[in-house]
């Protein structure tokens, strides 16, 4: 009968991420999708009054509709709108990915990596398209 002596090797200690560590931490793309899903959701929540106001302007009358057109021709408002469009598209497409994951579709490491790439491969070009449309290139 042999006796085992526990080798006391110092184990690596994992703690919560702190701020300096956050800057160097290599987050996988799926992690980026995850945090950006939260950020985009928060942005859309904060923008709710603005968005409802725009929706209201678009529907009250022809005069308010034209006022909305005028507002939307302002460069700064265009930038805000582009940020909101990007938030919306990211939240929508990443959200569809999460619905699939909840249905246990694409849970594997490889497929979830691929779907994280797809989120950006779809949302970024659509945002660029919206930017071109917004700034009058097309």
């Amino acid at each position: 009968m042999s006796t085992f002596t526990a080798t006391k090797r110092p184990r690596r200690l994992y703690r919560n991420l702190n701020f300096p560590l956050l800057l160097t931490y290599r987050l996988p793309l799926a992690g980026v999708v995850s945090i950006m899903h939260r950020v985009s959701g928060a942005v859309l929540f904060l923008a709710l009054p603005f968005l409802l106001w725009l929706f209201d302007l678009s529907l009250i009358s022809e005069v308010s509709f034209e006022r909305l057109r005028g507002l939307a021709s302002n460069f700064l408002i265009k930038l805000v709108l582009l940020l909101l469009i990007w938030s919306f598209l990211h939240h929508l497409i990443a959200g569809i990915r999460y619905l699939m994951l909840d249905l246990h579709i694409g849970l594997g490491l490889k497929s979830s990596r691929t779907s994280a790439i797809v989120v950006y491969a779809v949302s970024v070009p659509l945002t660029l398209l919206a930017a071109l449309r917004l700034f009058g290139a097309i």
């Binding site: 959701g41 678009s58 529907l59 009250i60």
Partner: protein, 121 residues
Amino acid sequence: MARPGAIGSKRLVVGAHYGVGSFLGQRITSVVLVIWVLLIGLSLLSGSLSYDTWAAMFAPLWMKVISLIALLSLFYHAWVGVRNIWMDYVTPVWARLLLQSITVLWLIGCAVWSVQILWRV
């Protein structure tokens, strides 16, 4: 509730499953929102956007009802998400309670406003 001996590993873990309700509610409302967005997006693709076509889209009662359901879904969806954010990052109970209360009241306000927006057309 307190059965004798029901302590430690013998403790009965049940809970009221509120979390499951919120989880499912957020998923179901997200599906409603995707459908609503597709409905509006697809009808915008056919034809140019003017005030008349835009307002005509929201004129029928069924579209107002669908849109209100979608917006209420949005506010519930936002409530679950924003509540999660407060629960994750705000630890003092008083601050969390305050922020959650403001969020609820704010979203109810948005819901009332949505009714007026839709029924004014």
